[in-house]
Amino acid sequence: MSLPTSAGTSKIELDSKLLNSLLAIFVNKPNGLQVQLGESGNLQVQQGDLQVGVDPFLISQALKVHLRNGNLGPFTVQLNQLQMGAQGLTISLNLLT
C-alpha cells in the first residue's frame, strides 16, 4: 500500500481487499444486495436483475463533517477529496477544532 501525500492534507486509505471485505461483512446479503469493487476500480452493484456500475471517481469538493462525541472532542473533519479506483478508497481530510 502506498500513501501518496500532499502538503497540508491527511489521508486514510482502504485498500481494495479491505474495501471488499467490509462490503462482504456489512453490506452484501445472501440473495440480496451485492456490492463489489472490481479489479479495474469499478464499483459493481447488483440487486436481483438490476446491475449498476460506478466508474472510478475523484471528487474534489470540500465537505465539513462535525464529530460530536464526548470522547473525541469537538472536532470538525473537513473532507477535501474522495478517490475510488483499483487501489481502493482514499479519503483526504483535515481535522479542524
Binding site: L3, T5, S10, I12, E13, L18, I25
Partner: protein, 174 residues
C-alpha cells in the same frame, strides 16, 4: 480464526497530529514538527528539559533517536546539552519508568520498547526502539473490536506526515 481482511493506511499531516496530541495526550508535552517529535518534560529533580526524538523505520520496527546535543534545559539552556551526556544517565531511567508504566497498564510485553545508547555520525544519541513483533503478538491476543483485530505493518515519518499502515484481520467463526 482470523482472516486477513486487507490494509488500512493513515497519513496524518503535522497539524492534525498536533491537534490529536493536544486533545488526547496533552500531559506528554509532545509536538510533531519537521518530521520529529519534540518532547518537553520535567525531570524528577525539577529540571525542565526539551528533547527531540527523530523517528526512522527499521526492519524490526521504529527507532527514535534522541541527539544529546539537542537536549535543552529550561534554566541551563545550552548547558543542558553540554551536560546531556551525563544527563542521559538521569533521563534514561525517567523515560524507562514512564514507558514501563504505560506498557504495564496495558499488559503490553516489556520487550516491545527498548532503550539503548549509540553514536550517529559524531553525535551521541539515546535510542528508543518500538519492536513490532511483540507489539503485533500482543495486538492479536486482544479481544476483537466489532470482530476486527489489527497488526501494525509499518510506521514512518516524513517532514510533514506520520504514516501508519495497519493489517486488518476479521474473526471468522465455524
Amino acid at each position: 480464526m482470523s482472516k486477513h481482511a486487507g490494509q488500512f493506511g493513515m497519513s496524518l499531516q503535522s497539524s492534525d497530529i498536533n491537534t490529536l496530541l493536544a486533545t488526547f495526550a496533552s500531559d506528554l508535552g509532545m509536538i510533531f514538527k519537521a518530521g520529529c517529535l519534540s518532547v518537553r518534560t520535567k525531570l524528577p529533580m525539577g529540571l525542565g528539559i526539551t528533547l527531540v526524538a527523530i523517528p526512522r523505520s527499521s526492519p524490526d520496527g521504529v527507532v527514535f533517536s534522541i541527539p544529546f546535543d539537542q537536549i535543552r534545559g529550561d534554566k541551563t539552556g545550552g548547558m543542558a546539552s553540554m551536560l546531556a551526556g551525563g544527563l542521559w544517565g538521569l533521563i534514561r531511567p525517567f523515560i524507562e519508568k514512564r514507558i514501563k508504566k504505560e506498557l504495564t497498564a496495558r499488559r503490553i510485553p516489556e520487550e516491545t520498547v527498548t532503550l539503548s545508547q549509540s553514536t550517529e555520525g559524531k553525535i551521541k544519541v539515546g535510542q528508543i526502539t518500538l519492536h513490532l513483533r511483540p507489539l503485533n503478538a500482543w495486538l492479536i491476543r486482544q479481544p476483537p473490536a466489532q470482530g476486527f483485530k489489527v497488526n501494525v505493518d509499518s510506521i514512518w515519518a516524513t517532514e510533514e506526515h506520520l504514516n501508519v499502515i495497519l493489517d486488518i484481520f476479521h474473526d471468522v467463526y465455524g
